[in-house]
C-alpha cells in the first residue's frame, strides 16, 4: 500500500464513520413517511411542518447523540463539496415533492384539466419514483454512501408497483418505504449508541487543558 492510498484509507474510514449513526436514515425515512401520511390524511401541510420544525429538532438531537460519542470533523475539498451538493439535491427534491403534492391537490379540485396535466397525472407516480430514487442514487454516488442506493431502489420499486397495481395508494407506498428507512435508521442509531459510549466532554476537555 502506498503512502497516498494509506492516507486515502484513513480518510475514507473516518468519512464512512460519519454515516454509521443512522441519523441520515432517520431524516430521510421520516420525510418520506410524512409525505405518505400527508397524502393519506389529505393534509399537505404535514410535510411543510416537518421541514419547519421536526427537521431542525432532528439535527439538534443528532448533534447531542453523535458528537459526544464520535466527535466531529470538518472534511476537506471533495467531501465538503459532496456534502453541500447532496444537501442541495435532497432539499431540492423534498421541495419538488411538496410542490408536486400541492399541484395534485390543486389539480384534483380544478374543474377542467388540460390534456398535458392529465398525462402527467396518469404517470406521475413513475416520475416521482424516478426523481426520488434517482436523487437517492446520485447522493449515494456523490457521498460514497452505499445504503442510499438501496433506498433509491426501494423507492423506485415501490412506486413502480404502486403504478402497476390498480387501486394501490401512493400514500401507503410512501409510508411503507419511509417507515422501512426510518426503522433502519433507528436500529442503526441504537447500535451506534451501544457501540460508542458517550464521552464526558467536560472531563476530557479539562484533561486536554491540563497537559
Amino acid at each position: 500500500m502506498t503512502d497516498r492510498s494509506m492516507l486515502r484509507a484513513i480518510e475514507k474510514r473516518a468519512w464512512l464513520r460519519t454515516f454509521e449513526h443512522g441519523m441520515w436514515d432517520v431524516g430521510i425515512g421520516s420525510i418520506f413517511l410524512l409525505f405518505g401520511l400527508s397524502i393519506i390524511t389529505e393534509f399537505p401541510a404535514l410535510a411543510a411542518i416537518w421541514v419547519a420544525s421536526f427537521y431542525p429538532a432532528l439535527r439538534q438531537t443528532g448533534r447531542k447523540l453523535v458528537v459526544p460519542r464520535v466527535g466531529q470533523a470538518q472534511f476537506r475539498g471533495r467531501r465538503k463539496r459532496a456534502m453541500a451538493n447532496t444537501t442541495w439535491i435532497l432539499t431540492g427534491v423534498a421541495v419538488m415533492g411538496l410542490g408536486t403534492f400541492l399541484f395534485m391537490f390543486w389539480q384534483s379540485s380544478a374543474a377542467e384539466t388540460p390534456a398535458w396535466v392529465e398525462w402527467i397525472t396518469q404517470h406521475f407516480v413513475i416520475f416521482i419514483g424516478l426523481i426520488w430514487g434517482g436523487a437517492l442514487a446520485v447522493s449515494a454516488w456523490i457521498l460514497h454512501f452505499p445504503r442510499l442506493y438501496a433506498y433509491g431502489a426501494l423507492m423506485f420499486g415501490s412506486l413502480l408497483v404502486t403504478d402497476l397495481i390498480e387501486g394501490y395508494h401512493l400514500g401507503i407506498s410512501l409510508t411503507i418505504v419511509g417507515g422501512i428507512i426510518l426503522v433502519t435508521g433507528l436500529l442503526l442509531l441504537l447500535r451506534f449508541i451501544r457501540k460508542y459510549p458517550k464521552q464526558d466532554l467536560t472531563e476530557s476537555e479539562n484533561h486536554g487543558q491540563a497537559t
Binding site: 492516507l7 476537506r76 484533561h207 486536554g208
Partner: protein
C-alpha cells in the same frame, strides 16, 4: 529528494512526526480540515492523556493549532494542522518514500 547528512543518520527524519502515535494523529489531521478531541481519540485509538500530550508536542513544534471554544456552555476543542504542519507532514512522507525507494532490490 530527501536531504542526506554527511555522517550519522542518512536522512533527517522529523522526529516530532515520526513517533508512531503522533504520526497517526498527524495523518488523521492531514486528511481533514479540523477535528475535535473525541474524533481523534476514536479514530486513532489513543487515550485522552496520550492524545493530549502528543497534541501538546505537536503544538509546541508549531504543527497544530488547538482552538478552545464553548458550544452550548460546554468546552469544545478543535484541532487543525497549521500550514507548517502540513508542509512538515508532506516532507516527512517524501523522506520516508525516498528512504524505502533507495533500498536495494
Amino acid at each position: 529528494m530527501a536531504k542526506r547528512r554527511e555522517e550519522g543518520t542518512p536522512y533527517e527524519i522529523d522526529r516530532t512526526i515520526h513517533e508512531p502515535a503522533r504520526l497517526l494523529v498527524t495523518a488523521h489531521l492531514y486528511v481533514v480540515e479540523s477535528a475535535d478531541y473525541v474524533f481523534l481519540m476514536q479514530n486513532t485509538g489513543l487515550t485522552w492523556g496520550n492524545l493530549s500530550s502528543h497534541l501538546s508536542k505537536l503544538e509546541a513544534a508549531g504543527y497544530v493549532e488547538i482552538i478552545k471554544e464553548f458550544v452550548q456552555k460546554k468546552p469544545h476543542t478543535m484541532v487543525h494542522l497549521t500550514p507548517e504542519g502540513r508542509a512538515a507532514f508532506d516532507a516527512y512522507r517524501l523522506q520516508m518514500k525516498a528512504l524505502f525507494d533507495d533500498l536495494p532490490g
